[in-house]
């Protein structure tokens, strides 16, 4: 790669020719240090910072990837504000995030607490609940479009058996986004549960015992001891799951491809369509930058809020 060749010799030149002995040793250390660190650093930085800067320049142009780009200044960004498709996509991403993040955290805590009991079949439960996490989002999406198929899917069959009206699910514009959220929860909740389970097992047993001896009920112990102890982990899961929800792509691609009637077209899906289906690279890059800014802002807000409340996790 061009980047690799350009950057490796430079770092060596900076440190190599220094005659006095002590300096020579420092230079040798730097050389060894970079020898260890440079390959991975170049891959990571070369494939993120460099394209990120490039994306910024692209975002200020009108470009289809082939013909010469036309400079637009900030006009792409101004257009996003007036674009009804972008607004709809932002709304869908917001709804998805607001359903997915609290859903996965509450369900994750519930499952973790249940798996932390000393009961039978625990190994069986654990395996069943965690196994969807290793299945890819693509496979999950294809499987889900079978299960939620209105005609012969299992979901409607269950509804029929218990005497409820059948649903359109992924083919109904009012339901598709919620169904996608449920599928995402199915695939990702195991991750939250594992983290909470580990956190629960880290809570000192003396804390719980002391409270129980003092006569606190199990529910009060949970509310006043367990939950506060889980707060730092919750900061992490909130950030992680928010990023997961905001960047959800694979599942939408393999279930609805943004439909029906654009009801599941999220921001990332819209960016994909702009850049790789309709070849509007500049506009797509501008939208991607806006998404990045929002993600960054949300992350900083959650971190600031948690720090203010004294539950640092980073």
């Amino acid at each position: 790669m061009a980047v690799t060749f350009a950057a490796t010799p430079r770092t060596q030149q900076e440190s190599a020719p220094r005659p006095p002995r002590r300096r020579g040793r420092a230079a040798r250390r730097t050389l060894i240090g970079w020898g260890f660190a440079a390959p991975a650093t170049l891959v990571v930085v070369g494939l993120s910072i460099f394209p990120a800067v490039w994306a910024f320049f692209i975002s200020r142009t009108k470009w289809n990837g082939i013909a010469p780009a036309t400079a637009l200044g900030w006009r792409n960004y101004e257009r996003i504000v007036q674009d009804p498709d972008a607004a709809a996509a932002a709304k869908h991403t917001l709804v998805l995030t607001l359903l997915f993040v609290p859903g996965s955290i509450l369900l994750g805590i519930l499952i973790a607490v249940a798996l932390n009991q000393k009961i039978r079949l625990l190994g069986f439960y654990r395996t069943c609940i965690f196994v969807p996490y290793v299945a890819s989002a693509a496979a999950t999406g294809i499987l889900a479009s079978f299960v939620f198929n209105p005609q012969f899917g299992a979901a409607n069959e269950v509804l029929r058996r218990i005497g409820l009206p059948t649903q359109g699910f992924l083919e109904n514009p009012n339901q598709a986004l919620v169904v996608i959220c449920l599928i995402a929860l199915w695939g990702e909740v195991g991750f939250c549960a594992v983290i909470y389970l580990a956190a629960l097992q880290d809570i000192p047993a003396e804390l719980v015992e002391a409270a129980t001896v003092d006569g606190a009920s199990r529910w009060r112990v949970f509310l006043h001891i367990t939950l506060p102890e889980l707060r730092p982990v919750t900061v992490f899961t909130t950030i992680w799951q928010t990023i997961t929800a905001m960047q959800l792509f694979d599942l939408i691609y393999t279930t609805t491809r943004g439909g029906p009637m654009n009801s599941t077209q999220t921001v990332v899906y819209y960016i994909y369509e702009l850049a790789f289906q309709t070849q509007r690279l500049g506009y797509g890059a501008a939208l991607a930058y806006l998404l990045f800014a929002v993600t960054l802002l949300l992350t900083l807000i959650v971190m600031w809020y948690s720090r203010r409340n004294g539950s640092e996790s980073f």
Binding site: I119, A138, V147, V268, F292
Partner: protein, 273 residues
């Protein structure tokens, strides 16, 4: 009078949940062995009457699925091996070696985690097009050669190791690389296993990037292949499910075999990532 359940009430929560999580996967496997008629029957059936292999047979003869499987194995293998080497080297440098620019480089690496893939894919695609590796397998694995997460994970692990062993090796006259390879790496086995599993999961399951970078259907990875099937064979459910089984089973088997390690990996991602 107090009435008591003969079993813990937690089962009332866990049993339905466990079934909701595992039954779709069971149905996936069962459906892959059904004939088209059986699948289209009404009311739907859950268990095939006999073992139909039509889905698998059609898949093997009409698509490049074997090729896709090999491609995915190759991409994931390169990703895992490269991650293990590059990230442990860099992680060790950032944890132990002192060199000019170390602090800055590490901060920049950690900051890259915030940049979303959607922002990078346009310029990365253009960059790969210029070097001429778009539409080759290299395009699929180059982004997986190393990751900020991997470097961070290894650094955290090395920071937690006692220095004395390394110092002893240095006193015995071993150089930095010798010390790293023969003293440090053997101690790092648990962290390396975690890194390998994490890389395997994410590179095997990646869809967005290979979808963007590869359009030649002999160079697809399994995930891209699955998605492309779905577009062309919307109603051939036995074939679609057979494809799903082929793409998912290796990871599920690996999960069942090494469950403890997998769960440790997920926890590590969560608590220290």
């Amino acid at each position: 009078m107090k009435w008591r359940l003969p079993f813990s009430p937690w089962h009332l929560l866990l049993m339905p949940l466990a079934l909701i999580f595992v039954l779709p996967l069971v149905q996936m496997v069962l459906t892959s062995f059904m004939s088209a008629q059986e699948i289209n029957q009404f009311p739907p059936k859950f268990i095939p009457t006999s073992l139909h292999l039509e889905g698998y047979r059609a898949l093997l003869s009409e698509s490049h699925i074997v090729r896709w499987f090999a491609n995915t194995v190759l991409v994931s293998a390169v990703a895992v091996v490269s991650h293990l080497i590059l990230c442990s080297l860099a992680g060790y440098a950032f944890a132990r070696l002192k060199f000019a620019g170390r602090g800055l480089a590490f901060v920049v690496i950690v900051a890259t985690v915030m940049v979303p893939m959607q922002l990078l894919m346009i310029p990365t695609y253009l960059m790969f097009a210029r070097i001429g590796i778009v539409d080759t397998l290299a395009a699929a694995f180059v982004p997986w050669l190393a990751s900020a997460f991997g470097i961070f994970l290894m650094r955290q692990f090395f920071l937690g190791l006692p220095v004395e062993l390394e110092e002893a090796a240095r006193l015995d006259g071993a150089g930095t690389l010798r010390t790293f390879v023969s003293v440090v790496l053997p101690l790092a086995r648990p962290a390396l296993a975690t890194l390998a599993i994490f890389t395997l999961l994410s590179s095997w399951n990646d869809l967005l990037w290979p979808l963007v970078a590869i359009s030649d259907d002999t160079k697809f990875t399994l995930q891209v292949g699955l998605a492309s099937f779905q577009g062309t064979r919307r109603t051939e459910w036995s074939q679609l499910m057979a494809g799903n089984v082929i793409a998912t089973l290796p990871l599920i088997v690996a999960f069942l075999v090494a469950q403890r390690r997998f769960i440790a990996t997920m926890t590590f991602t969560g608590l220290k990532g």
